[in-house]
Amino acid sequence: MTNSTRNRIKDKAFQFFGIFCMLIGLVFLGALLVDIITRGLGRIDWDFLTSLPSRRASRSGILTAWAGTLWILLLTSLIAFPLGISAGVYLEEYTKKSKLSSFLEINIANLAGVPSIIYGLLGLEVFVRQMQMGASLLAGALTLSLLVLPIVIVTTREALKAVPPSVRQGSFALGATKWQTTWRQVLPASFGGILTGVILALSRAVGEAAPLIVVGALAYVPFVPSSPNDEFTVLPIQIFNWTSRPQAEFLVNAAAAIIMLLFITFLLNGVAVYLRNKQQKKIKW
């Protein structure tokens, strides 16, 4: 056996191993989707989307849950993204390499690994009690913002790093200030990457139940929140509640609600991919 045939065999072997690895993930995801869809799809209709929760599974709906989820998403975006992106820009574009900056870097990366329930406890003490927001949408959104901030900061920095230094140098050479360079050149060029991070962060926030339960999100809310100070529930809590009920019909409801949650996540991801592709076509260096 020559060296090159051996290498070719290795190459093929790795290729099959790669396919196998990919299939593991896909098969599980596929099984999950098929199971959920066969159970829950038939349950989704207009009434299900517009009804209040009820003790009777067949009359129960997810109106307050998805309305709460949308509120939380909107508020979390409004709070977390300006903060996260600004922090990322500062760390990447403005700070000089120093012990302090690498210390910050490590800690932000660590924050991304803190269990979400810890953020819930923090939110309960700081927002709900000290700042007296009560178990409101605002307190929940602030808690989730803290939760996703590390993701936003880290991905913003990665996106900024991917912009070639020559773009910045060109801008500086023409006499632009740092802010002008960042705002007019670097940020637009990294828009796609930042957006990916932002959507990843939102997708994480949309699936969280534990920290919101700690903050005081409820399981039965018979009204659609009309301001950020209102009490609320979200889809994951409604799903969690339904799966723990004794009657099997509630499991069907839970499956249907999971489909809606997946739908919202896919929609978010779809929008992100669309915007990113559109943006990338425009950038020509």
Partner: protein, 330 residues
């Protein structure tokens, strides 16, 4: 590069889309209200046990027809989690699957919170095994204690250690998680000390997980609320319980609506409670809600799988509450 303006346009567009979705979501609630005569307003905040949740949810749902402008919300922080908020005066009513603990009562006192306990329904903690388990059909409380007490940890591992004639096979235990009121009640009733048991068993706050566990394990043994047994009768076998006290029913007793109601399924039949904050009880909407709760508890608790209190007992609870309210006014 001329991308900077379009970035902003796109951001604006995204926000606009979000905003529109949002407004669409807000539109839904306006048509619901109006209708019946009650002009009560305000909000009632309830939290606590997930075991009591289904019945409180049912009451809150029906109460909307009675007083459409009162916003009743119900959370599921667990009995203990609910009491933490209750003793700080953060909620009006706590759903509770056990009585208030001494230290919780002390905290309430420190915060100047007084309250009233009302029992609203019964539940029968059911001990179950796999349907193919043909040996264990009945157990004494003494035997249950032998299995669950802290000293059993790592020692009682086989069925024949409980009764010699039972098979020499491993016993696999499933039970409520230590944070739940159900766990506190079971340990109190069986081991004799609240919150004390062996730790080497499969614990879950979600009773469906326990159902799943026992129904797929021939050597499994577990306990949970009667409603979960009732819904999964085809997958589980309930064990009759003998408390060796002939005063409340001779011999081993099967959990059923009848035996829980008349108290012969001892010691594992338990009342479920709501705790009402006295400040809340001074508000007309809360008074109306509690009265509505007690008036409908019987019908609604059977609907969600619990065992209703006898009518005279509910009447007593109502009397107790109304005395409490009159007492507040003096």
């Amino acid at each position: 590069m001329k991308t900077n303006t379009s970035v902003l346009t796109q951001l604006k567009a995204t926000l606009l889309v979000c905003g529109t979705l949002f407004l669409a979501s807000c539109g839904g609630n306006s048509s619901e209200s109006g209708g019946t005569g009650s002009d009560l307003t305000g909000s009632i905040q309830i939290d606590g046990s997930s075991t009591v949740f289904p019945i409180t949810e049912a009451v809150a749902e029906e109460f909307r027809a009675e007083a459409p402008d009162v916003k009743v919300t119900v959370g599921v922080s667990g009995t203990g989690g609910g009491f933490k908020k209750f003793v700080r005066g953060e909620i009006d009513i706590n759903n509770s699957s056990r009585s208030i603990k001494e230290e919780e009562a002390k905290q309430a006192q420190e915060n100047n919170i007084s309250y009233l306990e009302l029992s609203v329904t019964y539940d029968g903690l059911t001990v179950v095994v796999h349907p193919e388990n043909n040996w264990a059909t009945s157990m004494t409380v003494e035997e249950l204690k032998k299995i669950w007490e802290p000293a059993a940890q790592g020692k009682i591992k086989r069925w024949n250690q409980i009764r010699p004639e039972w098979p020499n096979e491993e016993i696999h235990l499933f039970g409520a998680g230590v944070e739940s009121g159900t766990y506190d009640y079971f340990t109190e009733a069986v081991v004799g000390k609240s919150h004390a048991s062996r730790g080497d068993y499969t614990a879950s706050e979600d009773d469906n997980v326990l159902v799943q566990g026992v129904s797929t394990d021939k050597n499994g043994l577990g306990f949970f609320g009667y409603a979960y047994y009732l819904e999964n009768k085809d997958k589980l076998k309930a064990i009759t319980i003998d408390d060796q006290n002939d005063a409340n029913g001779k011999g081993a007793i099967m959990p059923s609506v009848e035996t829980v109601k008349n108290g012969t399924y001892a010691p594992l039949s338990r009342p479920l409670f709501i705790y009402v904050n006295s400040k809340a009880a001074a508000r007309p909407e809360v008074v109306k809600f509690i009265n509505f709760y007690l008036d409908n508890a019987s019908e609604l608790s059977s609907e969600v799988g619990y065992i209703p209190l006898p009518a005279e007992e509910l009447q007593k609870q109502k009397q107790k509450f109304n005395d409490f309210v009159t007492g507040l006014k003096k």
